[in-house]
Amino acid sequence: MTSPESRAEDHRASFVAGARAGIPYAAVGLLLSASFGVIARDAGFSVAAAIIMSAIVFAGSAQFTAVAILVGGGTAGAAVAAAALMNSRFLPMGIALGPSLPGPPALRAAQGQTVVDASWAMASRGDGTFDRWFLFGSTAPQYVCWVTGTTLGAFGGDLLGDTSRFGLDAIYPMFFLALLISEIKNRRAASIALAGSVVALALVEVTPAGVPVLAASLVALWGLRQNRKTA
């Protein structure tokens, strides 16, 4: 249907559109990662360790959680387990994304590494498929800002002191709320969001951190029921 040239052009257009869409989230990520840099230094991380963690783990909630566990006296194993639980939401996200990724398994796994919350949500076409070049494009500025922000925070943290004074802990939930608002396009999505919140809140006090969010993804199974009517 389309020639290779026009397809390459489509890819480039998607990548650029994704990068544009990713910039506001990247700016927020800069603030978040700067506070990560500060917190990690306070927890005993060297400047290099803080920056390297952001560069190779590149998952905000997992990084904050792991550091919090270490500060609380937890072992490396406990910190990694908590990080894995926080990141477990990428499991359903990856399963959703998988069919939209071409190539051999190793290449697909590599493409899957580019998933972060904002890019995944924005790259969704709304019909169950994903625009992978949009995904790559929107992750690119977020990655650059994530590492840059961590570097700034790790070096400059001593100047700031206690970051909760500046309300920086409100950034993370606001970031997710902004994504959620853009995802709620109809009543069904709103009901699912409400149900997911209820499930997560109900589990907060009885399961380890990370489990409530993973369990909330199960309410999406409601989609099975809805489609049975039309299928």
């Binding site: 603030l31 005993g44 991380f45 360790a49 783990v57 909630s61 997992a62 990084q63 792991a66 270490l70 490396a76 910190a79 990694v80 990080a83 894995a84 990141n87 990428f90 499991l91 359903p92 996200m93 990856g94 399963i95 959703a96 990724l101 398994p105 697909r108 796994a109 899957g112 949500a121 709304g126 169950g128 498929t129 004074r165 500046f166 309300g167 409100a170 950034i171 606001m174 709320l177 902004a178 959620l180 999505a189 699912i192 997911g196 919140s197 997560a200 809140l201 907060v204 009885v206 951190a209 409530p212 969010v213 909330a216 993804s217 309410v219 999406a220 989609g223 099975l224 809805q226 489609n227």
Partner: protein, 104 residues
């Protein structure tokens, strides 16, 4: 402590890569049924809503309402009713939270 930190970084890197790679490896290139697509479409609102409420209201394994809750509600209201952008909303949320802590 230093070796604990490096083990944590190494471990978190490996588990994150495995988790992110799993779906693409297992599901890659498959055609999904419309019913499964229906589930996938609802995944984002479910996961994001859970992340919002747990990141505001969960403090460890306890529920807690703090200044950041008010900040996020104000930021969210600005996005919905005043069509504020994400960066504006984030700055307002942080500002309101900081103000409540300062005066509170």
């Amino acid at each position: 402590m230093t070796s604990t930190i490096w083990w944590t970084i190494a471990g978190a890197t490996v588990v994150t890569a495995l988790i992110k790679g799993f779906g693409p490896v297992v599901m890659g290139g498959r055609e999904l049924s419309p019913r499964i697509n229906g589930v996938i479409m609802l995944m984002a609102p479910a996961l994001l809503a859970a992340l919002v409420v747990t990141s505001i209201l969960a403090e460890g394994d306890r529920l807690h309402v703090g200044a950041d809750f008010v900040g996020v509600v104000v930021g969210g209201a600005l996005m919905i009713w005043a069509r504020a952008g994400v960066l504006t909303a984030v700055l307002v949320a942080a500002g309101v939270t900081a103000a409540i802590r300062f005066f509170g």
